[in-house]
Point group: C2
């Protein structure tokens, strides 16, 4: 991909001036229109060492409203970042609707320089990068990827100049020189990387960057093209809401139909098993901390199915410094202006910690689907996005558990009535709960489909028979205990 390109191509001063001047105004205007249209934009500057990423960024942003963009420089991950999955810090930096985030280096670092020491590695970097970009693009993020290409000769000249001045010498290191010495091999590797990550949702534009004027003009033009295309696509697609995402048929029968809701447990056995499991959990939780193993437990279920009670008993004996319960309700306005997964990345557990998700990303395929808060395409796409997301968590070493707390309509009614009639429980029941109840069948269909489509080998669902609360709590807690025990077993061996 790079071989065929001539990095040394030049542009004269006059021609440059003529071309750039008209584009400066247009780029500012395109930025404003994208802001109005609520399009989030990500611009990546990747490329050779000393290919001028910083200077080119500076040149581009001259024509932008400084209140509308932010520049991020990706360097070695800091401690907080090293304790989380690789993609965590990039998810954190994704723009809200209408904002532009410019990256000086990016998530491609792993593909260009490999993993840093102490970093949690990506299991399949190419695939993970692609699915990250696809998820973003599908939710409306415009991704502009620029690769700055310089010739061997020009790179050497620039490195020398940087090294010669005491003001800039600190910017380069041995790796940069090695890259120049092995220019041809590196070019082949970069070329392969570009080909593999050049996809429909986010293609690469290689910028021949020996000559700054030529580079500037090509960068401006690429950004303008991309932004204007996004704007026209947005204005066209505004209304059409027909589904085009096709899902494979579900071959297995309903999961929920076969759930035996009669399971129960007597108080005596409950107390014994609870105490035993809680004390084992406490021990395992400490061990997790010492070995830096993390875990995430996701709780979903019908209203009044007993999520709160189960969570409370689960964390009862754990050291609060090592876990966090993250409750999720309707998204706030900041959260709404990002991809739906964004607010969950924020609480992905750091190494050695446990996060309990009280409701989760599955809202996309349940409440958002049933209530029409997203389009059919959106929730249909979400199954694969969620599976990718969970695979990344598991690949990064997180022990992931997912519970569906199941009761039937009759039991729910009983609990709602009880709450309504018990003064100290009344706060637990709202009008919305009653409204949701009326859509039971629609929810049932959504839940069943969710359980089928997102029960993966690496992140299976545990359906919990929850009419008997004692039985449900024990099942939850013992399942967590067994998973942690299994997870720690393999770590202990190392």
């Amino acid at each position: 991909m790079l071989k065929k390109l001539d990095a040394t191509i030049k542009l004269g001063k006059d021609l440059y001036k003529e071309q750039i001047e008209s584009m400066i105004l247009r780029l500012g205007e395109a930025q404003r229109k994208c802001k109005e249209a609520g399009i989030p934009i990500v611009v990546l500057f990747e490329g050779w060492s000393a290919s001028g990423k910083g200077s080119r960024i500076k040149s581009v942003i001259h024509s932008l409203d400084p209140r509308g963009f932010e520049v991020f420089t990706i360097q070695r991950p800091n401690e907080d970042e090293r304790l989380r999955p690789y993609m965590w810090r990039f998810w954190n930096k994704m723009p809200a609707k209408g904002r532009m985030h410019v990256f000086d280096r990016s998530w491609y670092r792993v593909l260009m320089r490999g993993h840093e020491k102490d970093e949690i590695p990506l299991a399949d970097p190419i695939q993970d990068v692609l699915s990250f970009e696809k998820t973003l693009a599908d939710s409306g993020v415009l991704i502009i990827k620029l690769f700055l290409h310089v010739s061997m000769k020009e790179q050497r000249r620039r490195l020398k100049r940087l090294a010669d001045s005491p003001e800039t010498a600190w910017r380069i290191n041995e790796d940069d020189w090695i890259q120049n010495c092995r220019y041809n091999e590196t070019m082949l590797a970069y070329g392969r990387m570009l080909e593999k990550t050049d996809h429909e949702s986010a293609g690469w534009t290689v910028i021949e960057a020996d000559n700054r004027r030529f580079a500037d003009v090509k960068i401006y033009r690429s950004m303008l093209d991309a932004m204007e295309k996004a704007l026209s696509a947005k204005s066209k697609n505004g209304e059409t809401d027909r589904s085009s995402v096709e899902l494979p048929e579900i071959t297995i029968p309903s999961v929920l139909e076969s759930v035996n809701l009669n399971r129960s447990l007597d108080r005596k056995h409950y107390n014994e098993r609870l105490e035993a499991a809680q004390s084992e959990l406490e021990r395992l939780h400490n061990e997790m901390y010492i070995h830096r193993v993390s875990a995430a437990a996701v709780f979903e279920g019908w209203d009044a199915a007993g999520k709160g009670g189960a969570i409370k008993r689960l964390v009862y004996r754990l050291d609060p410094r090592g876990y966090k319960v993250a409750p999720y309700g309707a998204p706030n306005d900041i959260e709404k202006s990002h991809n739906y997964l964004w607010r969950f990345w924020n609480n992905v557990p750091k190494a050695g910690h446990l996060t309990v998700f009280d409701r989760s990303w599955y809202g996309r395929v349940m409440v958002e689907r049933v209530e029409g808060f997203c389009s059919p395409d959106d929730w249909k796409r979400a199954y694969a996005e969620i599976n990718d997301f969970e695979k990344q968590l598991v690949d990064s070493g997180i022990i992931l558990l997912k519970f569906w707390l199941h009761i039937d309509q009759e039991e729910q009614l009983k609990r709602f009535e009880f709450r309504k009639n018990t003064p100290e429980k009344q706060w637990k029941i709202t009008d919305e709960d009653w409204r949701n109840r009326e859509k039971w069948d629609k929810y049932l269909e959504a839940v069943d489909e969710m359980l089928s489509r997102t029960s993966t080998e690496y992140a299976p669902w545990t359906v919990v028979e929850a009419v008997d609360k004692l039985y449900a709590r024990i099942k939850v807690i013992e399942t967590v205990r067994d998973s942690l025990e299994n997870g720690m077993k393999s770590v202990r061996k190392k």
Copy 2:
């Protein structure tokens, strides 16, 4: 303060059970009511090494809804934190309305253990801690401060037990043993610290903690008392909105009246001076980065006074990796549920960086005052809070600049009309701008008072005569340049 207390006081099992059981329910209920009432709660656990902070926290949260609180453990600051003023990471961790944040150690670290290496020190730790707590308390945060007190003998016993087990030995270090050896001196120092930081808005409760049962009961009771008191105060004060904050009279005459709006600059001199100043700024900005000096430039001014244009020229030649423009509009719903200063702390520049605040915390004493978005007490209190906040920034080494871009009503009308009649400028003018214009006199009064009350020795305002845009831009840019030059001079000497 500590000397008079008997850390060894005991509580029998039966009495404990009786007392704690009734409080467990009450505490859960108080938590829920505080949530409903939108009261943010901060609970600090401080105390001797091995005084059982972790275990006591665990015991307290058993009675809480895990979805309503979060526990923060304060350890050595990480890199991100070391590059910012000391209080930055605590501001970040303040609870939104209705949430409870529990701290295992806190901002008192500096008063109990001194500063960490590489940390930006507080200039006046006691005073800074007090004003932080006062600002929070005044905005409705309930602060519960618990100090766990153990006797020398008990501390030694616990340290020995921790050291003896391989599972817990890593938790203690030499400092903990030194504390025990110098128990009496440490007690005196802690006692003084407690006295100095025991104030009306946030008093200390010392918990005698040799006996866990006694400690638990006292902690429960203290929290219950504080929460119930806050609830009853809240329900009483709901309506009264009369101002009780008294401000000293302003003795100096109006600042704005004497501004000479006729100042101007011709295009030729403008171009020359602009180019010169921008190139010096570029050099100074690089030097800032190398010496880890940071700066913040605050822009306030009438609508259409030219803030955007001035900011654009200010940052024109700066490396985008070293500055950030932070635009502030009306607060979003997350921001609204925190103290008004919270969202600005977020963008306090890190060492070596520049933040340009496009509108700022001064909204409190301008738009919020004029439009009635906060009570008279709120904005009157804000002058002192803002001065404290800015003092902390300056004390931490940040070069702080504040610009008021001034035009008159006639000039604003001209610019509004021009925007209205120029297609590519129309986006810049909104109905709100016209509405604000009608309240010119009220804003004038507020601005004049603001300039008087918040022009301090360490953070003076620069009023910019902005009818002539060229003059205004040069004044802004040269002022920034001179301040950076001055700031760097003293750094270079070191």
